[in-house]
């Protein structure tokens, strides 16, 4: 497993000319970025009125995600810290305006003007302390505060992130909440190491029905050719509401491992010739948690 790019060098150095070109010429990466952007757009839940919106693409890189935004009919402004990546974006004639900037320094966008923000595979870079003057917490604070300010009321921000560990995820979420965002984490395909993707879905303004955390994707929504385990299909959503509201615990949606599944498996085993206990009313009964 290759090591994380975040551990190798700061983004403006890691994404140099060579890496930028390599990244953007990989058809696999282009495909994945398009999928991630489409999913992020879905989670952004923009009104379906056919009016183009003004969006931010944070960590827009070489414009791969921006292309999907343009194809969806929106206008966008992209931020990135790597000049090499932005050069590639210019070559690819990205339709959105590009800004060379550091999200950890604050976005510098006027209050209330942006209809939505996305970020694909970028926000986790904020957690690095690449320079001695970099305090990740200060940068996270600057970023989220400036983002909260520039978003219009009711607008959302959706970030597809690769946090290194639980602590990083909590750190990012914590600063988002502190800035005033409500929201939660949506994890698609939580049990597939390859396909697992995390989205931070943040909303501005008071929590309401429309800002309830969206449902994550499990296996039954896509045909999987490379999936070897036919086991768990748990859709997990973690909802984090703001401080003044009681915490809502989302129920785990157990599609399998119900009584039916157990009975089926037992039949299978019997057919194979294994010794299987009789099916009684106690089969697959819910046990106490301590069990």
């Amino acid at each position: 497993m290759t090591s994380r790019p975040e551990l190798k060098a700061p983004p403006e150095i890691f994404y140099n000319d060579e890496e930028a070109r390599k990244y953007t010429s990989s058809s696999r990466i282009i495909e994945i970025q398009a999928q991630l952007t489409e999913r992020a757009l879905e989670l952004l839940a923009l009104p379906d009125d056919g009016v183009p919106k003004l969006l931010l693409d944070i960590g827009c890189g070489s414009g791969l995600s921006g292309e999907t935004l343009t194809e969806s009919g929106h206008q966008w402004i992209g931020f990135d810290i790597s000049p090499s990546m932005l050069d590639v974006a210019l070559e690819r004639e990205a339709e959105g305006d590009l800004i060379l900037g550091d999200m950890g320094q604050g976005l510098g966008v006027r209050p209330g003007v942006i209809d939505g923000a996305i970020s694909i595979s970028a926000v986790q870079w904020l957690c690095n302390a690449d320079k001695s003057c970099h305090e990740p917490r200060k940068r996270l604070k600057s970023f989220f505060e400036s983002l909260y300010r520039c978003l219009a009321r009711g607008a959302r921000a959706v970030f597809q992130v690769y946090p290194e560990n639980l602590a990083q995820r909590e750190l990012i979420l914590g600063y988002a909440m502190r800035a005033g965002f409500a929201g939660g984490v949506v994890v698609d395909f939580p049990h597939s190491a390859k396909r697992r993707k995390e989205y931070l879905v943040l909303t501005c303004g008071p929590p309401s029905l429309s800002s309830a955390t969206p449902k994550a994707k499990g296996e039954d929504e896509e045909s999987c050719s490379d999936e070897e385990s036919s086991g768990d299909e748990e859709n997990q959503t973690v909802s984090i509401s703001d401080r003044h509201r009681p915490r809502k615990k989302q129920k785990l949606n157990k599609k399998v491992k119900g009584r039916e599944w157990v009975l089926r498996k037992k039949e299978q085993m019997r057919r194979k010739g294994n010794a299987v206990p009789q099916d009684t009313k106690y089969t697959a009964r819910k046990r106490k948690a301590r069990f």
């Binding site: 056919g50 009016v51 550091d102 006027r110």
Partner: protein, 122 residues
Amino acid sequence: MRLLTHNMLSSNIKGVTNGFPLRIEVEKVVEKSVDFNPDFLKNMFAKIEYKALVEASRIMGYAELPDHAEPSMLESDDFLRKFHHALMELHLEEGTLVCPETGRRFPVNKGVPNMLLHEDEV
């Protein structure tokens, strides 16, 4: 960089109270045609700082935009087209954006403004 983006950007330097609008120093302007979308324009009109847009478009060499605008003018196709042209079709390719308070210069190359702040400005 279109004037749409310029109208959204403000100077982020520590201590600056009002970093908007950034003054434009033009070296090269390019006109690119963009699809005309009246719905988008009407939506954006409420968010745009109109005065800043007019000033910026004049500096970029486009003088057709009226000094003042009322929402009622959005019904006029003529005004909408001028608004569209100024907002979406004038690109600053080379030049500088200047912070109105500190005078700090942000260069614009190939249409990309460099808004990276130095350590002491954060």
